[in-house]
């Protein structure tokens, strides 16, 4: 089975879909000639030409607005926002146009489009190159929000997102582009080539949106995580020896509530992780969902381990990042209840 980094897996998904479907058009800042700042689109312009893979001016509002129009008129645009932090000028187009077109036209028009955005910290990007804005999308009816944690999922989910008839926000945790970063920033990263989830089949495969994956089975506590935090959870479980069941949500909207509920009913405990700030983060939604459905099975309060309610710091990046030590403490804490 071929091995790919997450960058290569994403590039391969775009390649597969551009070859299969002439409606698929890929664009964004530095995406064409340069091949993308993280190299996710390298070679696509050479292979498919500049009408199907092109450079957009630095105009996020325009990029997303144009994608909505392309999608409404029969294309399948895949737009890249170079960093999720650059999304805000285009947010109005995402919320007021892309997400709402289907509803306000009673299904007459839709915006089948994917907006890819590298997100998350861990690269000393400071406050304008490190954010995790997923909750800003999950809060908007009419959008789907996906966040893979590994190359296999990235390829299958991106293909499913492109084939989806609704707008999909596809968040790419940039710290795991090249390997399963587990929060130990002082240790070398294992490359995807040596990780089973680096194995990505050639050709077309899709992972349906809304299906979580159980990364590690366990009986003592359910850990809900996505993106980079899946690997942090795995490290914390290993290091503490806690028998944690780790669920990689993969897609936040639609959400695989069934898998979550089944697990929490079994373990009776739940810890929720995300890198984004805590207040009104997606963890609050997860916590509410679990509480509503599993209240009588819970043996301890649900805990969240998240980024702090501060802007993403520059020098103090690792004090902000919810690393394996903080996660490990939470795992132990819920067991002591």
């Amino acid at each position: 089975m071929p091995r790919r980094t997450m960058v290569e897996a994403i590039r391969d998904a775009l390649d597969v879909m551009m070859a299969r479907d002439p409606r698929v058009v890929v664009f964004g800042e530095d995406v064409g000639y340069f091949g993308g700042v993280f190299r996710c689109t390298e070679g696509l312009q050479r292979k498919y030409g500049a009408s199907r893979c092109f450079d957009a001016p630095i105009s996020e509002t325009g990029i997303i607005g144009v994608a909505v129009g392309m999608g409404a008129y029969g294309l399948r645009p895949v737009a890249e926002i170079q960093f999720a932090d650059y999304m805000y000028p285009g947010y109005d187009q995402i919320v007021s146009e892309a997400a709402r077109l289907r509803y306000r036209s009673a299904g007459e028009f839709t915006a089948p489009m994917v907006v890819r955005m590298p997100c998350g910290g861990g690269i000393f990007g400071g406050q304008t190159h490190s954010q995790s804005p997923e909750a800003l999308f999950t809060h908007v009816a009419g959008l789907k929000t996906v966040i893979p944690s590994n190359p296999y999922d990235a390829k299958g989910l991106l293909i499913a997102a492109i084939e989806d008839d609704d707008p999909v926000i596809f968040l790419e945790p940039k710290r795991v582009y090249n390997g399963p970063f587990n929060g130990h920033h002082d240790q070398p990263i294992v490359p995807w080539a040596r990780h089973p989830l680096g194995e990505t089949p050639d050709g077309h495969y899709a992972i349906p949106l809304g299906q979580a994956a159980v990364r590690r089975e366990g009986a003592a506590v359910t850990v809900l995580a996505y993106g980079t935090m899946v690997h942090v959870a795995e490290a914390a479980a290993e290091e503490t020896g806690v028998d944690a069941e780790i669920i990689d949500l993969r897609s936040l909207v639609p959400l695989d509530v069934e898998t979550i509920v089944r697990s929490v009913m079994k373990t009776g405990r739940c810890v929720i992780l995300h890198e984004a700030t805590r207040t009104s983060g997606f963890g609050a939604e997860l916590s509410a969902q679990v509480q509503e459905r599993c209240f009588h099975h819970l043996e301890a309060p649900i805990l969240r381990v998240t980024g702090w309610d501060t802007p993403y710091p520059h020098a103090q990046e690792w004090d902000y990042f919810p690393g394996p030590d903080r996660v490990g403490r939470a795992l132990r804490a819920v067991l002591e209840e």
């Binding site: 000639y33 630095i58 105009s59 000028p89 990007g125 400071g126 309610d309 520059h314 103090q316």
Partner: protein, 325 residues
């Protein structure tokens, strides 16, 4: 420029050049983390423009900001210590390379989002207008940012209200890896404000005297209450967009040619020698600059890491309530 003004400009450009070279070295040694966008090659732009300013004028720019800060007179040591993420940095390690400020020097940042500072700079100009001061806002952005929608929203507002803002497009030819020809349908960016009647001119941004002359025309226009002015500085960055730039979008020969034929510091040096400034005098400036940069580098390595509590300060006026878990 008088002899003394040119000497000062030479000093300031050289300080930026040596500072940036040192920053590149420290980055290579792993002492600077994350993003670092060097200004090498573009020094004449900020130094020439700074020479047109009066006390109280404001400067705002994007993320390639080290040169702007040094030109406003911010201390090299404070800038360098922010690059290394130390408590002695201008933002005490909170901001990093792209996010530094100085109220004292009229420097309003240091902004990491392409184009976002342009409307802020327009707001600074509004404040000048509102207070009926003579002050001018110098609002810098790159040719890449010049296609952002908010740039044109700002143009309209500034022209409508006749706000004293000099919009300065630093056209270094490449928005990261995309050349201006591949990103912009407009090739004479000085005309980008024409729809709103904003006068503009293209300036040789590699020549500090040309920059200063154009800057003075622009500043006079603003101070006379005639509204905004647009300067397109034709300049060039020798280094990559950031430290991780493979630079495959241009040839080595192109960079070499600019260095050899248009270098702003070399040009100023030649002019000074023609004005009978001695080699010894220039050498003295070189030595002074070197010493300042070395002191900054030492300080940036010796200054302590930010205190743990620093993570929680400056979020809101009140300290946030959050127990550490």
């Amino acid at each position: 420029m008088t002899r003394d003004q040119l000497l000062q400009a030479y000093h300031d450009m050289l300080l930026i050049r040596r500072f940036e070279e040192k920053a590149g070295q420290l980055y290579g040694m792993g002492l600077i983390g994350g993003f670092c966008h060097l200004y090498i090659g573009q020094e004449a732009v900020v130094v020439g423009m700074q020479a047109c300013l009066e006390p109280g004028d404001q400067v705002i720019t994007s993320y390639r900001d080290h040169g702007h800060m040094l030109a406003t007179g911010m201390e090299a040591r404070g800038v360098m210590a922010e690059l290394t993420g130390r408590s002695g940095g201008y933002s005490r390690g909170k901001g990093g390379s792209m996010h530094m400020f100085s109220r004292e020097k009229g420097f309003y940042g240091g902004h990491g989002i392409v184009g976002a500072q342009v409307s802020l700079g327009t707001g600074l100009a509004f404040s000048n207008w509102y207070r009926e001061s003579r002050n001018v806002s110098l609002t810098y952005f790159g040719e890449g940012a010049s296609n952002q929608g908010q740039v044109y929203e700002s143009f309209n507002l500034a022209a409508l209200m006749k706000l004293p803002v000099i919009f300065i497009i630093e056209n270094n030819k490449y928005g990261m890896g995309t050349s201006v020809e591949r990103a912009s349908a407009s090739h004479d960016l000085s005309k980008n404000g024409a729809a709103w009647g904003i006068p503009g001119e293209q300036v040789n941004g590699m020549d500090v005297t040309a920059v200063k002359e154009a800057g003075e025309r622009a500043a006079a226009h603003c101070r006379e209450g005639k509204g905004p002015y647009l300067l397109e500085m034709k300049t060039y960055r020798y280094r990559g967009h950031s430290m991780s730039d493979p630079a495959k979008y241009r040839t080595r020969e192109e960079v070499q040619k600019m260095r050899e034929q248009s270098d702003p510091i070399e040009t100023a040096r030649k002019m000074l020698l023609e004005q009978d400034v001695s080699e010894a005098e220039l050498k003295k400036i070189d030595d002074e600059v070197k010493a300042v940069v070395q002191e900054a580098a030492d300080f940036a390595q010796k200054s302590p890491e930010p205190d743990e509590a620093e993570l929680w300060t400056d979020v809101l006026l009140e300290a946030p309530v959050m127990e550490a878990r």
